[in-house]
């Protein structure tokens, strides 16, 4: 473990709490198991990967409350385009 990371913003307990909450709430709101969510992320990535090259680990999905409903947010950071269509 990097000693200096103890003093950076990332390791502050409030930031850890916020990150944990975001994960917990996404699961609570989806009302699906962690497994199905991983599977969904994987399948979505597979479809998109036909067109783009992705860094799979960094796919992030969340549900954000907007008024009375939720908006599904998915971040698919990618390296480069495979095909040009």
């Amino acid at each position: 473990m990097d000693f200096r990371s103890l003093f950076t913003r990332k390791s502050k307990s409030s930031n850890i709490a916020t990150q944990r909450l975001q994960l917990i709430l996404t699961q609570d709101r989806f009302e699906v198991s962690e497994d199905s969510m991983k599977k969904l992320q994987f399948e979505l990535t597979e479809v998109l990967a036909k067109y783009f090259e992705f860094t799979m680990n960094s796919v992030k999905m969340s549900l954000k409350r907007e008024g009375n409903s939720y908006v599904l947010m998915a971040d698919f950071p990618f390296n480069q385009s495979k095909k040009n269509r």
């Binding site: 003093f7 409030s14 709490a17 909450l21």
Partner: protein, 264 residues
Amino acid sequence: MGKVIVITSGKGGVGKTTSTANLGTALAMIGKTVVVVDADVGLRNLDVVMGLESRVVYTSMDVIEKRCDLDKALVKDRRVEDLMLLAASQRNRKDDIKPEQMQEVCEKLKEEYDFVLVDSPAGIEQGFRNAAAGADEAIIITTPDVSAIRDADRIIGLLQHQGIDSINLIINRLSPTLVKKGNMISKNDVLDILNIDLLGVVPEDTGVIASTNRGVPLVHNDGSPGAEAYIRIARRMTGQRVPIPEMRDDNFFSNILNWFSRNK
């Protein structure tokens, strides 16, 4: 015609009863007519926090079971005009009351009073459902920690499902010093996560404990940060535009510590 506002949280012990007592008192001090309703059947506390326990004769159960008229069951707070308490029965259980019965009581009260504040029990079961049954609006109380915010999120979902559109948030027991140190979730992070409208922020205030000991809501002794926060929230509830101030961390020692850790 007034409105019924349920004050609820999901998680226990985050300040629902404290907030009901203080907002009810503050609203009455502004000149509104107010009833605070204890919906925590079997574990009533609002009477004690308001210092009215010795004068409670009848409860909402007596009204529902037609042992007494609604007007007669209301206990008048003598320290301020137009503030009444409807106590909960201590001998009954939460499922002895049905949501429709609570709703009927609330409907009658809002014909006569500007604000009917319902102090909800913790949890998402019958007690909560009863408390929310007659509500036009909701105030969610949360403290800035993972489990309280998680439970608040659940409650918001349930209230929206019930068709309550106006749901506002109060963040209670925020400590600017801890936020600054990075040991407490900040106001903005709570808002970002829950994404509902903020009604106000109440700081951690040791005066709350003394006021509960005495049975005199904090807002009677203005000047304390908690009292000022509740008074501002009450004014916002009446439609006044009152800005939400950024909380200052005026702990000199922690400022110094912070300066050091920032400059490492």
